[in-house]
Symmetry: C2
Amino acid sequence: MAQAKKITPRAHDYSEWYNDVIMQAELADHSPVRGCMVIRPHGYRIWELMQRALDDMFKATGHQNAYFPLFIPMSFLAKEAEHVEGFAKEVALVTHTRLMATGKAGAQALMPDPASALEEPLVVRPTSETIIYAMFAKWIQSYRDLPLLMNQWCNIVRWELRTRLFLRTTEFLWQEGHTAHATEPEAEAEARRMLGVYRTFQEQWMAMPVITGRKTDSEKFAGAVRTYALEGLMQDNKALQAGTSHNLGQNFAKAFQVKYQTAPGGLDYVWNTSWGVTTRMIGGLVMTHSDDNGLVCPPKLAPVQVVIVPIWKSEEERGQASGVGGRVKTELEQAGIRVELDLRDNMKPGAKYFEWEAKGVPLRLEIGPRDVAAGQAMAARRTGGKAPIKLDGLARTVAGVLEEIQTGLFAAARERPEAHSVRGVTKQQFIEFMKGAGGGGFAYGGFCGSGGCEAEIKQETGATVRVLPDPEFRSAEAPTTCMWCGKPSVAEAVWAQAY
Amino acid sequence: MAQAKKITPRAHDYSEWYNDVIMQAELADHSPVRGCMVIRPHGYRIWELMQRALDDMFKATGHQNAYFPLFIPMSFLAKEAEHVEGFAKEVALVTHTRLMATGKAGAQALMPDPASALEEPLVVRPTSETIIYAMFAKWIQSYRDLPLLMNQWCNIVRWELRTRLFLRTTEFLWQEGHTAHATEPEAEAEARRMLGVYRTFQEQWMAMPVITGRKTDSEKFAGAVRTYALEGLMQDNKALQAGTSHNLGQNFAKAFQVKYQTAPGGLDYVWNTSWGVTTRMIGGLVMTHSDDNGLVCPPKLAPVQVVIVPIWKSEEERGQASGVGGRVKTELEQAGIRVELDLRDNMKPGAKYFEWEAKGVPLRLEIGPRDVAAGQAMAARRTGGKAPIKLDGLARTVAGVLEEIQTGLFAAARERPEAHSVRGVTKQQFIEFMKGAGGGGFAYGGFCGSGGCEAEIKQETGATVRVLPDPEFRSAEAPTTCMWCGKPSVAEAVWAQAY
């Protein structure tokens, strides 16, 4: 495969660093298709681990998986006015269904066969509310059918002009939950519950701290009544929206005639929610923990949690170290730990360390002749620190170390947003914070709620309201005036420049 | 949800029966998008269980999952001549990326924005050889990078004119394995190995007997050197192609310049294989086991393996039966059994039985007042038979019963193709077999290898060569002449009418 290459230091060029980390860790690669990436096995394994953890949580909260069509009739999109407005400029449209050859034999090219033009073009799903609620209308008759709690794992296409690996790609993978409820409060509770599920996952699995709250009208999902979001702060002090959960009210139910017979015998529209997280989270994971040596992956989501590198000079040493390595591997595997034994004989140990570090493996066990003799392995943590551990009771020790690394990563990650947040800012402080040498971060301040202020702030500083934060994230003292225009504040807001 | 409806008996209309079983079991539903279906939770759960089992087998044989783009540049398809020929007439083409409103305000419709026309249309993947081997060319440099063993789980689009739930849909879900090897024998061994993996899965998990063998040139994959397939015989004596594995030779490697440095230092093209199974297998599962009461699902792939139905008349009885039911549920869950406790109070037990039978649940445990008193449950098998089992040691007993049902289904399913096969047929016998009242099946006979005979046979009887069978499926006596034209036979062939 590709030769190991030096990773651009963060301080030199953050954006290049990000790409280098991904390419060196072989998480993803650029494809020949504009804006589309290839998720390579190491990156896809992270996604599988994310899927498994989230899917278990979805099922534990009563959701069932299903699969809905990739294609959506163009007219469906138009049924919810805000929705089509939001997506019309970024949809891939299927218009033909056959290719034909054109040009002379020997120099033939292909073109869409005009005779195969579709009567109604099909939209490649940019999200599936419309097609899913059209089906809900068929399945839901009575209050006994509610709540209907569904989820699908699938690919999504939004025609993006500026793309970046994982963070913004024309095609991406995600899950989208879609639910229908008998009452508004139930839908609201569901939207909040799933926001909580995401937060638990992002904190406990990704070790990525997030703040949660509500989006302003200008940032909410096209067609939603209310959008809730999770926002992480990356190492360059830009915010990453890491997931959203929408209370859709009856907007789509009315557009798609999703009605149900109420318990007393009346007829009402259902109340919907939708919520999703995407492969973008892998970008968030990369930017939350990694360093100038490459990927740092929290153990719970690491494709390889432990790599064993036997060290030898003679053939005899090789046999011994490999033998011990093999036994250690089996023992760790039996304890449910994801482990690799690196027996490649065309690479020096140092080159192996370099490669596994770039791939983010949390713990490396080096086993050399002296370790074999002493009944130990040298344990080097990806996050720093190296110490011998006894082979006796190794699996338990390693499990403990992995847990420490997981906890340690979260603790370290929590410090950054706190160190790069300002509260109760004035307009002047805000501008300096966003445009100054510190490089921005989360700015908490009063907000009048006007779209005019939002637009001005974005124009002048590039910052947007990330969320109107949930109570636990709010400042001790509620702001009384809009930090920008000075009018009365309707809510505290958190601004940041964002991905 | 929809009211339970009578299922059309197989003898009355097999095709209607098939649809009824799927709709009643809520496996899938028709969508508003031509040829696309919705896979409902009960059907999707079967797919998830299939995925899990197959994915474990793929990983155990050294394969890694990855994800490649949905879109393929039109020109890529053209690089392998047979490949484009095979798929040109059934591809969905993306030509535009924005919608615009047309017509007057208030009566607006949408149309693709002509200004957003793509320079090169994109093909929605009908299979991914071209895009994947374009990436392999980037990743493979040396013999040390080989074999490269990848797989992806994804959606696929082939524009089909006549569609049927699961069996043939415009969009379907599948996995496609793609591998690159240093030598021809290694690629051949891989193609055969994965055929074996599929066979193990289909026999041991789906309880569906299959015959394996090679496809004739007219039936092989567009671009392959050799295609191997698995063929099952459905209850209507039509064959279902249940999976394929292709030795692609160097065809795609040459088209996409996938070269590697050999160990001695030369340069050669790699040897590729690809192999896939799809959601079509769910259709095969339905047609292999189900009856006029609905779905029969082999326990290993049943979303619900056991349903507990407490029976009560008084509130006191209700409390007791539900209490016991709850404890039984917990015990079975702890033993890793997928179980539901049906406590709905708006349905009579008989209606519940009817519903769970239609959904294919292998085992029903009825717990009434007398059962509570006797410390037992009545165990009714979906495949027939009802007997009390002791609550003491229940989980172990139930696990045993489920295993018996699994084994019994496979044994029963094995009898059918044997009873509906003829060997060493003459032309006249063949025609009578295929067109007669018996309704066809597998016909084994000599084959001259000519496409002319294949075309004539198809024209006259609707039958095609399903496979040139592997040794273990061949007749004891090798045929010497083509059963159709009388010329020397080059191989025994298995013909059938097919889905």
